[in-house]
């Protein structure tokens, strides 16, 4: 069973991520098990998916959180793809989902995700990480502790350092 990190624990990854087929058609949703569907599929099949339950939505880097809007608050799992770790659009997506659209469920990063990207991802609201298969997941977990202090407001610490300094 593939693994992922959720809330600093290494657990089994039981969800199936559905991708469009080669013709760009939505994949068929299996009858059972947790699935993660593309944002466009969710928007097109919202009623059916909601009735089925056990689903999440995934974002590509150019998908817009605005398209999901207030629905974010009712979802329990959103995943964001990082096709390359140097593509920072997913960071903004994470913050927007958390800070503007009230998403409180599991926010999962997948794709080019490894030890050196976890600190920034966490601060942008991600609490789950599908570590690249060729990377050591135990080693990656340690990346969460690279920094214990930061200057800016973020999802992980909404109070910027300058506000905390004044309290201290």
């Amino acid at each position: 069973m593939p693994k992922l990190i959720v809330d600093r624990q290494i657990v089994d990854n039981t969800a199936t991520l559905l991708r469009n087929d080669e013709a760009g058609e939505f994949a068929a949703v299996p009858a059972a098990g947790t699935v993660i569907v593309p944002l466009a599929q969710y928007l097109a099949q919202k009623a059916a998916l909601t009735a089925r339950g056990e689903f999440g939505v995934w974002f590509g880097p150019d998908d817009e959180p605005e398209a999901l809007g207030a629905d974010a608050a009712s979802l329990s799992l959103i995943a964001v793809e990082f096709p390359a770790f140097t593509d920072g659009r997913g960071f903004s997506i994470g913050r927007l989902l958390r800070e503007r659209y009230g998403f409180a469920g599991e926010l999962r990063a997948f794709g080019d995700v490894f030890k050196d990207t976890l600190n920034y991802l966490t601060r942008c609201g991600f609490n789950a990480f599908v570590i690249r298969e060729d990377k050591d997941i135990d080693e990656a977990l340690k990346g969460l502790d690279d920094f214990t202090e930061s200057y800016q407001s973020s999802v992980a610490q909404p109070m910027p350092l300058f506000r905390r300094r004044q309290l201290g």
Binding site: F91, Y120, Q166
Partner: protein, 562 residues
């Protein structure tokens, strides 16, 4: 200057540990070259033509003597006993070993220095006026705002992997010595009619392949909103900037494609959500940071120092140095002194370990232990008593730091070029040196007056050639190095981009070409007119006719043929 508290120090120390681990994993094969590259770049580490190059951050150009001594020690221990000051007010080492970089960072951290975000596709070191806090024409000291921006931009989680590098400059004086309109974001710190400090925000300026002068998108931003507004600008850029083509990925391309008005409107829309949020600056924070930038314990003088004025008129060489290298101070009886790193025969911006130590001593002796780096690749002692100038000049001469040519033709701004940089298409240092050698007559140079000569060895424009009155760009043609000349660029308040005058030249032609350009200027000049004004008055044609005589002679025939 700003002094870290234990939290600032912890962040820098944790970075050293993180980078040590990253370097170890890279050397052990656990990180691939492709993975390590963006990680090391965000720590200022390039793999260059000959060796790694490490760019050390000098936030907004401020240095303390104790920091300079550590820079000297690093140059001696880990490099070939010199460092190079860059147009970003940073210092880079050209010959460190990759394995040593974690130790170098640990040394830097002992004096509150680092190499964070000096490269890579992130928010780079914020730059400002090298005379900030002391300039006679200053309206608002920009340094507290630079520090506030430094803290905001350091390890900003959302903007660690932008489409491209991102540069911010701040200016608070009448004259814009920070070139804010050729930055991704340019900030003017100003006062409104009620005397309240706020900002004018320009975006989308930049040099490189597509030079563009920035546009004003926010004529007045209240001070408490600075960071939330910057967050909004960066978020729009991070989400919508192009990532498909690195030459079109800078914010200037996005602003141009959207139009500055539409870009500004998008930022306002984003900012509406962020305004008044937790990043809203507090009075307490603004005051906390401002306290680090108060004036030193000046002695009080009624006006100019008589002994200094006498020496200035009696000793010609001293007078010449004062004219070029000494800048007016806001405090009576004091001066800002530029230490020229443009001595003949030395690559512009280079400084040896011994010179660095000597400079640190001079800063302690004459300038409250503080220094600045300028984007023209010189160093500044910001608090020198006029009464000390003669003695300082004599000490600087002994160190080769008194070349009296600041702002003149031979104060060349120049990137390291093909001798060091793996991006360069052509060398630049030898051309700078050849031009300096040709124009070695100080009287003549002083007569010519202010001329900015800027040179870059490639399109990335680290030498800011676009804003040089005379700009030189090294280009590669079928594997050989050629040099394209542009005229009419300027930095500062009336920033403009120079225009290429014609086909490029071979390296050995360059001193002649520059001499011909200068001769046209001298012949056309009225009185003490500066080069750039002459150029504006007579245009490029007379210069073209002189440097391309054969082509000019042929022109009538072509006209007939047409």
């Amino acid at each position: 200057m700003y002094v870290y508290d234990e939290l600032d120090q912890k962040i820098v120390d944790q970075r050293v540990a993180q980078f040590r681990d990253q370097t170890r994993r890279y050397l052990a094969g656990e990180l691939t070259e492709e993975e390590f590259r963006p990680l090391r770049l965000q720590n200022g580490l390039y793999i260059q033509r000959h060796a790694p190059m490490l760019r050390v951050a000098v936030p907004y150009g401020e240095l303390a003597s104790r920091q300079v001594r550590v820079l000297a020690k690093i140059a001696r221990t880990y490099d070939r006993d010199y460092g190079h000051f860059t147009t970003r007010q940073n210092l880079q080492y050209n010959w460190p070993k990759l394995e040593d970089v974690p130790d170098i960072l640990a040394e830097l951290a002992t004096v509150q220095m680092h190499a964070i975000q000096t490269s890579g596709n992130c928010i780079r070191n914020t730059t400002t006026d090298q005379f900030a806090g002391v300039a006679h024409d200053e309206l608002v000291d920009p340094r507290p705002w630079c520090e506030i921006i430094r803290e905001w931009s350091t390890f900003h989680p959302e903007f660690a992997h932008l489409p491209r590098k991102f540069k911010i400059a701040v200016n608070g004086a009448v004259e814009d010595r920070a070139a804010i309109r050729v930055h991704d974001i340019g900030i003017i710190v100003a006062r409104n009619e009620a005397g309240v400090v706020g900002f004018q925000i320009y975006v989308g300026g930049g040099l490189g392949r597509t030079p563009i002068v920035g546009s004003l998108i926010k004529p007045w931003l209240e001070q408490e909103h600075l960071l939330s507004y910057l967050d909004a600008v960066l978020r729009v850029y991070n989400r919508y900037g192009r990532r498909d083509n690195k030459y079109k990925a800078r914010i200037k391309i996005l602003v141009k494609a959207m139009t500055p008005e539409a870009f500004g409107a998008k930022v306002e829309q984003e900012w509406a959500h962020l305004k008044d949020g937790p990043m809203t600056l507090t009075r307490g924070e603004i005051d906390r940071v401002a306290k680090f930038f108060t004036a030193p314990a000046y002695e009080q003088f009624p006006g100019d120092d008589a002994g200094f004025l006498a020496a200035r008129s009696e000793t010609k060489a001293f007078g010449r140095w004062v004219e070029r290298n000494v800048f007016g101070h806001k405090q009576a009886g004091y001066a800002c002194v530029t230490l020229s790193l443009k001595a003949p025969g030395v690559a512009p911006g280079d400084v040896s370990g011994d010179q660095l130590d000597a400079i640190a001593d001079l800063a302690d002796k004459y300038s409250f232990g503080e220094l600045r780096a300028s984007h023209e690749q010189n160093l500044i002692l910001p608090y020198v008593k006029q009464a000390d100038l003669l003695a300082l000049w004599n000490e600087l001469k002994a160190q080769g730091l008194a070349t009296p040519t600041v702002g003149l033709l031979t104060d060349v701004v120049c990137c390291p070029g093909g001798d060091f940089c793996s991006l360069a298409n052509a060398k630049s240092i030898p051309i700078a040196l050849a031009i300096q050698e040709r124009f070695d007559n100080l009287d003549y140079l002083h007569d010519l007056g202010e001329i900015d000569l800027n040179m870059s060895g490639c399109m990335n424009a680290c030498g800011h050639h676009h804003v040089g009155n005379i700009g030189i760009l090294g280009v590669d043609k079928n594997g050989s190095e050629w040099y394209q000349v542009s005229l009419g660029g300027r930095q500062g308040s009336g920033a403009s981009i120079g225009k290429v005058i014609g086909p490029s030249f071979a390296q050995d032609e360059m001193p002649d070409v520059i001499e011909k350009i200068i001769n046209v200027f001298v012949e056309a000049r009225e009185g003490e007119e500066p080069f750039i004004d002459v150029f504006d008055r007579i245009g490029a044609e007379p210069f073209k006719a002189r440097v391309y005589p054969a082509k000019a002679a042929k022109a009538p025939k072509e006209a007939v043929d047409a």
